[in-house]
């Protein structure tokens, strides 16, 4: 495991990979050279510009292209005033065409500390921290210094939080603040360079490396890296086991299938456990339980909150539930749209490769891939918009509920997009192939122009049989080729986009200069800030990093492993290599291709964990079905459904599923018994707090005599005596009953008498009976 125990020995020297590290460093420098290459003036201070952020906390990019001049000026003035009102100092500089850059920093550290303290008290009250921070702000900050991500988060919240929560209420791209295009912090290039260098030169990441990410980029991004690193480490088992099965057991081995299912279950449950541990380590446990009101929540009416007594917006759950039911038609639409495209392409491909017999076959076979790569992204964009609108229509009141619902919808779309093709091959094409292929003739419209005669367009060969390699090829495509392409796209596309954009702008400004038109934005920069401003203008143009997209990628990759890796046991080997690079490439992407992300907090990877569980469960079904269908022949049924014993297939699946359920319960039980440093730390903290409260509250009681204390003979006697006497004074049946024996010694004496008599009485009786 990558997560070391706390307080372990000092980090062991990590094996270095000098080649890779040097290459990555070069790439990093090169990329930055490219960023700066449009400003020959700035070359002198380039390295300096990369070194320092000039105390800037945030940059606000204000665009006024579409706004009326006077309005824009008034609104900007208001922006400055609002920011000044919450204690932020501002400086304005010229931005790129039709924008200005507003630099923001906290006016005084003491004021920031007040905000930090308030945030920490809020955390404590919501159960994120076990103990309240010390009442002295100074000592609170000394005992637990502010880390960079916390600082940036608090300032960001100061800028964006609504005014009633003490923020400035700036909402980028929304409402009144439509002109505010983005709010971003500046990259810390010195750190970034170190980060990339360190990661590219070590095989494994350690918990300290993740701590570093958390301190710089916040817990949400750190959780992504922690998850990927855990997943990477776990992958070594299926990679080794898969390689061995591939050598020894061949494809569709039930042993591999079982091993893979166990691994998926253990990994999912382990991560669930690990997540808690990390959340405690980073002090963010229960952060997801702090309700943040969703910005676009539209209350139905205003009610008085029965809990807080405040007026709050209310939207009936029942009404929301009715709206949520729209998810069913939405899901059906998604299945229909994407399904049609995928099935059509699948049909065309099968038709061309297995029926069509004319010229250009080797070229035409790429038609479906072409359709998929053009139509699908368009469809996905449309459907995602639809999903977002539906999600907004469902009108969630908290940000967390909104995000969860949206993530689920996106998962459904991606699930279909990623796996439907393989499902079609495995469960439609292979078992029903011979029934279906003749109908594929309808796809001859796609290739009719190329055919020389009708015969080439029809299924003539009567001895046609399904292609047993199709399934494997498809799995290999998705788990190797597609992953590589994806990785490449992630790094190359934004780079090309940026290059193209820079080129376009250069050309435009050249033309403008030629025409004596507008000078470059940098024309009026003070020479000593020029390089810095140039860099800021570049960063303003970068994309915003979306960590869920990366998480989604990992979860979908996990899906291939759990659902289909029995088809090709080397899957995990491919993923292992891919993910080693992916982790570094993502770090690189954040440093180079994206704006510095705002450091949000999180205590979990959220609904993706449910997705993992779901994929693991579904894997138990598909793996068992695949093993049953393909194990014997290694190529599966021959395409006609009559050869499959449906009852046996169902029995296999039924058995496998329930085995899986029992397995999961057992694994969960065992893992829950594992103690981790995080959980221990939490218990220790809670214990200390408890102890302190207990002592505080019971100190008052110490003055009172205790019942259980060793109050001493005299005290006790007095008490009994008192009780007895007070009973005797008022002669009730109770007082007479309790007044017979005076103190415990008398009770014992009476009992002695009774016991002795009882035994004496018995003895003769027994004798008599004998």
């Amino acid at each position: 495991m990558s997560i070391n125990k706390e307080g372990s020995s000092p980090p062991a020297p990590v094996p270095r990979i000098p080649g890779f590290s040097r290459a990555a460093s070069t790439i990093y420098n090169l990329k930055y050279a490219l960023i700066d290459n449009t400003s020959p003036l700035a070359v002198m201070t380039k390295s300096q510009a990369l070194q320092s952020n000039l105390d800037v906390d945030y940059v606000i990019c204000y665009r006024f292209a579409k706004t009326d001049k006077t309005k824009a000026i008034a609104q900007f003035e208001k922006l400055c005033e609002t920011l000044a009102n919450v204690g932020l100092q501002t400086e304005v500089r010229n931005g790129d065409a039709h924008s200005v850059l507003l630099f923001v920093r906290v006016a005084s550290d003491e004021h920031l500390y007040g905000e930090v303290y308030r945030s920490r008290v809020r955390d404590w009250v919501h159960g994120v921290r076990a103990a309240a921070p010390p009442k002295e702000t100074k000592s609170a900050l000394e005992s637990e210094p502010l880390y960079e991500a916390e600082r940036l988060r608090i300032i960001y919240q100061l800028i964006t939080n609504p005014t009633y929560e003490g923020g400035a209420g700036i909402t980028p791209k929304e409402g009144e603040w439509k002109g505010v295009e983005s709010i971003f912090a500046l990259h810390d290039h010195a750190y970034n360079k170190d980060w990339i260098k360190k990661w590219t030169s070590s095989y494994f990441l350690k918990t300290e490396d993740l701590d570093d990410i958390r301190n710089r980029l916040g817990e949400k991004i750190a959780f992504y890296f922690a998850f990927t690193q855990s997943y990477f480490t776990f992958l070594m088992f299926p990679a080794a086991f898969g390689f061995a099965s591939w050598l020894l057991l061949g494809y569709f081995s039930p042993i591999y299938g079982l091993g893979c299912a166990v691994w998926c279950t253990v990994f999912t449950e382990y991560w669930r456990h690990q997540e808690t541990d990390l959340a405690i380590r980073w002090g963010v446990r229960n952060v997801s339980k702090i309700d943040i009101r969703h910005r676009s929540f539209e209350p139905e009416k205003t009610i008085t909150d029965p809990v807080t007594g405040e007026k709050v917006g209310f939207f009936a759950s029942s009404k929301r539930f009715q709206r949520q039911l729209l998810q069913i038609p939405f899901a059906l639409t998604v299945v229909a749209c994407l399904g049609t495209v995928i099935a059509t392409c699948f049909g065309i491909e099968v038709f061309i490769s297995e029926v069509y017999n004319g010229p250009l076959k080797s070229v035409l076979v790429f038609i479906p891939t072409g359709i998929l790569t053009t139509v699908n992204p368009i469809l996905i964009t449309i459907l995602t918009q639809f999903a977002t609108r539906l999600n907004q229509f469902e009108n969630y009141d908290t940000q967390a509920a909104y995000d969860t619902a949206l993530t689920r919808k996106i998962f459904v779309m991606n699930f279909i997009l990623s796996y439907l093709g393989i499902f079609l091959t495995a469960f439609v094409y292979v078992p029903f192939g011979t029934l279906i292929v003749p109908y594929l003739d309808i796809f001859n419209v796609a290739v009719r122009p190329f055919a020389e005669d009708e015969k080439q367009l029809h299924h003539t060969n009567t001895s046609w049989s399904i292609n047993p390699d199709r399934l494997r090829k498809q799995v290999i495509y998705f788990t190797v080729t597609a992953q590589l392409v994806n990785l490449g796209m992630e790094l190359v596309v934004p780079y090309l986009k940026r290059r193209g954009f820079a080129w376009f702008k250069q050309m435009q400004s050249d033309r403008a200069a030629k025409n004596g038109g507008a000078p470059a934005a940098s024309a009026n920069d003070p020479p000593e800030d020029a390089a810095f401003l140039e860099r800021v203008r570049k960063e303003a143009e970068l994309d915003v990093y979306d960590v869920t997209a990366d998480l989604r990628e990992m979860v979908l990759q996990f899906g291939y492993l759990s659902l289909f890796s029995v088809v090709w046991p080397l899957t995990a080997v491919s993923f292992l290599i891919n993910d080693w690079v992916e982790l570094r490439a993502d770090a690189m992407k954040i440093c180079v291709e994206m704006q510095r992300p705002t450091p949000w907090r999180a205590d979990t990877i959220g609904p993706w964990l449910d997705s993992l569980s779901f994929l693991t469960w579904l894997g138990s079904l598909t793996t068992s079905a695949l093993v049953y269908m393909f194990y014997n022949t290694n190529k599966g049924p021959d395409g006609s459904p009559s050869n499959i014993q449906l009852w046996a297939l169902l029995l296999t699946v039924f058995f496998a599923e329930h085995l899986f359920i029992i397995l999961r319960l057992t694994v969960r039980h065992v893992i829950s018994k594992i103690d981790s440093p995080g959980l221990q730390k939490e218990r220790r903290e809670r214990f200390m707090v408890r102890k302190q409260y207990f002592e505080e509250n019971l100190s008052a009681l110490k003055k009172l005599p205790t019942l259980s204390g060793s109050g001493g003979e005299i005290n006790r006697k007095n008490l009994e005596e008192e009780a007895r006497e007070s009973s005797l004074r008022t002669s009730t049946p109770e007082s007479r009953f309790w007044g017979r024996q005076r103190g415990w010694k008398e009770t014992a004496a009476v009992a002695k008498n009774l016991i002795e008599r009882a035994q004496n009485e018995t003895t003769p009786q027994v004798k008599k009976e004998l």
Copy 2:
């Protein structure tokens, strides 16, 4: 629902059932007359003896029959001293043969209040209460008065808790305190009589009635009654729906099956929700999370607790897990033992009723019932002992873990005992009947003595077909006859036992008196206490009430409904009637047949909830399988397995199971959205505490200037100025960068300039391009 919302309208007049109520009252009086019937002397003060408990809190029954006289006396002296040490006053009286009765009461109320306060602080620290009790003990008790169950629980804990927790450490029947036979409180007969009268005269119980139970008998028992009442209320739906199906749809209706599955799911999930609500209402939420060390826990070694730093006993979870694996052979043994007995009896019964053809058939057919009723209780006793030992061997460190594990084991045994017979009929006899029945000839040994010739012992009729009514008859037997018998047994057996015991003792003492031997225990009683002591002696002989046995009964009953009610839709009607009586009979049992139970706390019905979930899930399998097999013919397959389409059966079950999983998720989601008074109350309390903490902690901060406060023009300006000046003093790149604009107004002015210029520049450029 029986649980009304808090603050609802005053209770509506409840329809009275005068007949039943009068009968119950009579029974109650009669029973008490019977208890007292052996003591003619006491008749005069009988009613008085039933009215008052003479301030007695607990009675300790000390038996010395098997102990050496001197030892017994010394130990009893120690007992009195130990009790006095924790502030309890004692009185001793003669008990029945070889026992003495030690009466115990708290010496002074003030001291008890100290204990109560300590207990409440402990609760708060463990998260059971939202707010700490007020520091003044008196005001704490005034604002939240002590209820009887709390008082009795605290005194019981004072007697039994180990000395290091401030108790007297008296452990009944264990170790040093083997002589302490029982510790019990005295019945409050006035209340009991009211209770029975009230319940027997109303159709429904209200939440207030349950509150009453909680105040008297503690939350654990109150939870049983609340559960049974909820279940009873819910039963009305399947009773009505079942009756309608029985009239309109007949047996094995898929519609009824679906309705029943939905009902079971809704009920289980509703109870999960309701349970939380009640726990909050009764202020016991999270009580189950307070760890109480299990008494017989044997640590492997002593370690220093990493959390508290104290020395504690430690037993490795891995070792416990190894021991838990013994549950598998244990479960197999249980299945084998009970399964063999049940299957054998089943075989014999089928053989006699369907193969055997000789004389005495109508009598012999009861042989299997005879075997079952004699062998099963013996087997169950042995297996329960086995289960308890295994459970002890598993060595749980907390009481809760121990109880959960034991409950699970007992559930497995009862599951087999209750349902295996029906499972055999439905899934073995019906589908495989014709294959199996010929082999039943081996059971002819059972009836050989009665047969007249060999022909009567063999399966001669070739056109034999299975008996389609067998399944229904069996279900009716279990859901009507067995329930009635059970109810009767619960009330009658203890009564007969007690009567027999009383008769035996009477006889013995008569004989002793005739022989001039030992006089009755009551011989030396002071006349005014005689009736009271007589009553106490009777109560000392009563059994200890075990609430889990009653809960188990209800859960198993629920099982018949979820698993097999599709066979006979009237099941719920029978249960509805049965449970109305059962609720009252259980109340009666607690009042009359049992010692007053020690009022324990609980915030759940514990592992039985898991059992309910499990039975609901299994019900989705059995119901769908039964519907598939029996729906068309109404008598199922004709006994040969070839007639069942296994694939169709499996497909049905597979489909039903997954439908059920989706249903459960939906129901859980919907129910989680229901707001309940309890949850609201909890949120309100937590909010108040939070608010208070927040105010306390932030009051210190108010003195500090805030960033977000409307600090006013001057303050803000000063701040910015200061920052600017301090920057200028030391001329770093940062200070020069931030020093250019002086306050937000300058920033706005510069921006105005930039914006105006930008727009001016653009305008001509655009024109040029046009």
